[in-house]
Symmetry: C2
Subunit: 196 residues, 2 copies
Amino acid sequence: VGIEEFSMRLLGERLGSGTATLYRHFAGKDELMVYVVDRIVGEIDAEIDRDAYRGNDWRQATARWAHSLFDVLNRHPNALPLFVSRVPVGPNALAKRERSLALLVDRGFTRELAARCYTAVAHYVVGVALQQQGSGSDAEGDREHLRCYFGSLDAETYPATVAAATELTAVGPSDEFRFGLELMLDGVECERQRGR
Amino acid sequence: VGIEEFSMRLLGERLGSGTATLYRHFAGKDELMVYVVDRIVGEIDAEIDRDAYRGNDWRQATARWAHSLFDVLNRHPNALPLFVSRVPVGPNALAKRERSLALLVDRGFTRELAARCYTAVAHYVVGVALQQQGSGSDAEGDREHLRCYFGSLDAETYPATVAAATELTAVGPSDEFRFGLELMLDGVECERQRGR
DNA sequence: ACCTGAACACCGTTCAAGT
DNA sequence: ACCTGAACACCGTTCAAGT
């Protein structure tokens, strides 16, 4: 129902129990949300745990979990704000982090570079998903609206914005994500070669 | 006071007026927050508007506004959640976007590549700031705590995480930001050369 | 032992009544 | 005309009272 509309009263009602009963299972709303986050993290493609996965190089493998995480976050737009300023430490989060890190270390990254690159990519994925939040079914309409707005600005004051009104709004959320991820992986490749 | 603690009643009280009076100036809490966001965006280093700025190459200039935006966001940690899923379109946001875009186009980027790179960098900066939110004065203590937690895990189940416990928590928020930004700018450089 | 209605101390927003 | 106390319809959380 969305984070704004959710309430302990509503949850109690849907479960056919009193609101106060919920506090026998969770310390409060905050603790409940921690469990919600870990459950969502658990939905990340299990492929990352498989042996077959080892055939791919670091770039393919990293791109794969990044896309999988991005997909999962987009499947749960209502829960996205829960990922702000919360380092997920539940059992599912631990397992996924382990695999993503091992991926890099197994393929020759130093522990330090692996840790830095893992963190950068993970923060990029969640960050973009957060800022694209709500760009669901009517995303095309929203972009159209923004394009008109940029295009209608004063061309003397905002020449570059007016000229690039189309380009600024032509790229959809998933294309934008893919492009930025490739930029970051290109950067990782540079850093890796520099380290040698 | 933080977004959680803020209320229209508190604001009315601090201004020495009735709560209902606020609704004569703003349609409601949401509209008020839009103004808060644009005011914060207005704090981005004005250097970006100056002619002297033109001496720098695209990478220096882009890194400069990215760092400035990051600093501004960190100066207002309580307002950060307001940047989730809101494309800032106030007067200050328009002015800053114009300069950041013109920067790239003036230095030979096509409109499309400029738009894509601007968007990627802007989303990266805000995304990282969002996820580092609250890592203020006691950040060192939090990292120490997380390091112990990672280090204490079962080494059979989480070998890479245990081994990299130090590396995962050794990098502070601003270093992490700088590293990821460099990755992304390396990627932009790659893309730019490919386009030629 | 387990559950919960009702209460407590809050919200955002509205509007009739005051100045 | 402008302001606002009080009310309305909600919150999260607690606890005495019920089963």
